[in-house]
């Protein structure tokens, strides 16, 4: 939700998924530059989504930013072990998230969008 509100400021194209499964479905059908993922989702869990993404050849390099209320060290370790690229704890300032996403997109591609 919050993330979708950032669209006008960034010019990026966002796709929202209602659940972890739907996220996997959308990722399978279209190319994305970055995934912003919550760990708490209906149906399957965040770690499972990350592991599944990493198990797909074409998604192996896709940057995944985990955004969660779980600030404890074990959640962070587990998310990173599963294959998350970065880990952020809610709540956060919108600029902080934008900064992270920008950095991840820039890492993945030579020319970052404006």
């Amino acid at each position: 939700m919050i993330i979708a509100c950032l669209r006008p400021q960034t010019g990026w194209v966002f796709t929202q998924a209602a659940s972890g499964l739907e996220a996997l479905e959308r990722l399978s059908l279209k190319r994305f530059d970055v995934v912003v993922l919550d760990l708490n989702m209906p149906d399957i869990g965040g770690y499972e989504v990350i592991e599944f993404i990493r198990g797909q050849d074409k998604l192996r390099e896709l940057p995944i930013l985990v955004v969660t209320t779980r600030g404890d060290e074990s959640s962070r370790t587990r998310a990173l072990a599963a294959g998350a690229t970065r880990f952020m704890t809610k709540p956060f300032a919108p600029e902080a998230l934008l900064g992270e996403v920008r950095a991840l997109v820039a890492d993945g591609r030579p020319e970052a969008p404006p």
């Binding site: 708490n40 989702m41 209906p42 499972e48 074409k58 209320t69 074990s74």
Partner: protein, 682 residues
């Protein structure tokens, strides 16, 4: 990530949500303990517990309360393993988990009082960790199904159980696949939609994403395997799943025990927003809405008066009266809606009672079986909060004083386990009746009379009066558990004086005692009679009035002198005389004169009305000058302790902008009678 984030803003939300989850945790733990005693497995409760603690942990981490995170984490780890072991908890786990819950509760309470949160109890955390090691070996074999192992292994213990039980119960289980394509996505067929469609005809047990080779049919290289349980026809299921009927694969049971694959619970599905059809609202906001509605009700009443005035002048007001009636109905509906929003379920209110009984049984060495039957009854939040301590006190008393030790019970030919029941139902007249019953030794009337220094009471009512005398229970019944906390006098004060309800008791020596609380479901707006007395207008709630009858004061019977006014001035006007009595269906009913009680000028008239009320079965009549009408009034309680007067429950506005006293005739009657009795004995 701090970002200047001030956690204080989130604390209130955290406390409220944590309390909810803690209540659920306690309830689930007790239900697990009860099931374990009968040797029944409890996978669902273990799973729910796990979710509650997982959420508490996440929330506590968010607001930075590390001690809670630590305890919740240790508990969660025990439950995760229990979930993998098909819901089997190691011995002694419930005890430790209850302690853990208590530790979290204490810290949440400290937070709500803005006190420092003590660190996590190290002994408890390590005891919980030790539990996990002992549990690690205990993993049972379970029935398996014809599901391919790669799918079976992805099911959590609870999902496996759900599937196996469903098939055993005769439902059909299907495996079907959904392969997303851009065309399907464009047509709105995505996994969320398929899941929802299937949800209308079947129970979706699990959806597993699977990698497949990318082909023209599966361009994304992804397929979803859906495991469902259903009673619906195959064609319906196939249609809902957007597949041909032959693409449904039946799942059957296999007798071989399942190998212990690594397949954890999907422990992240904690915050499913679709399971939350509720919104938290501060009570203050509802009160605000109610306050605005109050203004509307008053305006409506003024409209009614204005209309009546027009009619009196000969104007045709039929159309207006119709609109007014419709408006009145709508206001009542709106009021009902707001009041419903303020209602809390009595079952939820009573969730903590089992915990109290459990704690007490342990402390006293008595065994007690508690049964709570609250049904669907609901209670206004404000009433619920007030009455709860009274309920707890009565339950405490039941375990602590009423129930005999097991040996004594056995000697008396009773079952060793004492029975305590808490029942409640909605009566007519906006009242809830709550009964706390035990099968213990009964109230010792002789002992109570001796301690109160009073003659032996001859009825349960008289005995209850003694029991509820201030100071009686606290002075002499000091035990580890009931010596502190509220006494019976406080129970009475809450139920009778504060809430305008009733407290009754039935006790039989050797057989048990039942306390009955009758309390209003809500205390804000009541249907009331208005009447004139001594030139003043008063209102009295309809629910408290048994009857209104004509009375001719000159034809009343004089009874013995039992009555004095609160001011002690009754003798001033008429000299010494006894209470007036009227005949009512062969029963002599004492008549109290409101005008004298309130020291009002009494007009010289002998034709009056009497409002008859009944307290604990005993009728009283209050003589008034004239009845004015009946309407809904908004009672504003007299909050100020200094101006609180027994017999006056608050004020209301009848539309004339002046406060009108709302009388509690039952309380007034009992106060006057009590005073006259004390006065006579002095």
């Amino acid at each position: 990530m701090s970002n200047g984030f001030d956690s204080a803003h989130f604390l209130a939300g955290f406390i409220a949500e944590a309390e909810d989850h803690l209540a659920a945790t306690n309830a689930n733990l007790l239900s697990i303990e009860a099931a374990a005693a009968k040797g029944q497995p409890t996978p669902r409760q273990v799973r729910e517990l796990f979710r509650s603690l997982h959420t508490i942990k996440g929330l506590a981490a968010m607001v930075g309360i590390e001690p809670i995170v630590e305890v919740a984490h240790a508990m969660e780890a025990v439950l995760r393993e229990a979930d993998r072991a098909a819901g089997q908890l190691p011995r002694g786990a419930v005890e430790l988990l209850l302690k853990g819950t208590r530790a979290i509760e204490q810290r949440v309470q400290a937070l709500s009082k803005r006190k420092a949160v003590s660190p996590a109890p190290a002994a408890l955390v390590s005891a919980l960790a030790a539990l996990r090691q002992s549990n690690a070996q205990a993993s049972g074999a379970a029935a398996s199904t014809s599901l391919p192992p790669e799918l079976w292994s992805r099911l959590g213990a609870a999902e496996r159980e759900q599937l196996v039980q469903g098939i055993s119960a005769g439902r059909r289980a299907w495996l079907l696949r959904f392969v997303p394509t851009p065309a399907r996505a464009a047509a709105g067929f995505n996994i969320t939609a398929i899941r929802e469609r299937l949800g209308t005809v079947a129970e979706v047990v699990k959806v597993v994403p699977q990698s497949v080779a990318a082909t023209d049919d599966a361009p994304g290289g992804l397929a979803f395997a859906l495991v469902i349980l259903t009673d619906a026809a195959d064609a319906l299921v196939a249609e809902a799943g957007a597949v041909a009927p032959e693409e449904l694969t039946a799942i059957s049971l296999e007798e071989t025990p399942a190998a212990l694959e690594e397949g954890g619970p999907d422990d992240d599905a904690v915050d499913d927003p679709r399971h939350r059809g509720t919104v938290r609202v501060e009570v203050a906001r509802l009160d605000d809405a109610l306050e605005k509605l109050t203004a509307l009700v008053v305006t409506q009443f003024r409209l009614g008066r204005a209309t009546a005035a027009l009619r009196a002048q000969g104007t045709d007001v039929r159309a207006l009266a119709q609109v007014l009636a419709e408006n009145g109905r709508q206001l009542r509906d709106l009021r009902a809606s707001i009041m419903r929003a303020r209602m809390v379920s009595v079952s939820e209110l009573l969730e903590r009672v089992p915990l109290v009984v459990r704690g007490l049984s342990q402390a006293t060495g008595k065994s007690a079986h508690l049964e709570v039957a609250a049904g669907k009854a609901e209670l206004d939040k404000a009433v619920a909060e007030r009455i709860f301590p009274a309920i707890i006190h009565l339950v405490r008393n039941a375990v602590d004083h009423a129930l005999e030790p097991p040996a004594e019970r056995a000697a008396a030919g009773k079952p060793e386990v004492g029975a305590i029941t808490v029942t409640c139902f909605e009566r007519g007249g906006n009242q809830l009746e709550l009964t706390i019953r035990d099968d213990g030794r009964g109230v010792d009337a002789v002992g109570v009379a001796r301690r109160a220094g009073a003659p032996l009471p001859t009825s349960d009512e008289a005995l209850l009066d003694l029991l509820t005398r201030p100071g009686l229970s606290t002075k002499t019944e000091v035990t580890t558990t009931s010596g502190r906390g509220v006494g019976m006098d406080v129970v009475k004060r809450i139920a009778v004086d504060e809430l305008g309800g009733e407290l009754a008791m039935r006790t039989t020596p050797g057989r048990g005692t039942a306390f009955t609380l009758r309390i209003p479901l809500s205390i804000t707006i009541v249907d009331a009679f208005s009447f004139l007395c001594g030139g003043e207008t008063f209102v009295v709630p309809v629910a408290t009035v048994e009857e209104i009858q004509e009375v001719d004061l000159d034809r009343t019977v004089r009874g013995p002198d039992r009555r004095r006014t609160p001011r002690g001035e009754s003798d001033r006007r008429r000299g010494t005389r006894g209470t007036d009595m009227i005949q009512r269906r062969g029963e002599a009913v004492p008549v109290l004169r409101l005008d004298e009680i309130f020291g009002l000028a009494s007009p010289d008239t002998s034709h009056r009305k009497a409002i008859v009320v009944r307290r604990n079965g005993e009728p009283y009549a209050f003589a008034v000058d004239r009845m004015l009408g009946q309407q809904e009034v908004v009672v504003r309680p007299l909050e100020d302790r200094l101006v609180r007067v027994p017999g006056i429950s608050g004020t209301t506005d009848l539309g004339d902008g002046r406060p009108t006293l709302v009388l509690d005739l039952i309380a007034l009657g009992s106060k006057l009678m009590a005073e006259s009795v004390t006065g006579a004995g002095a």
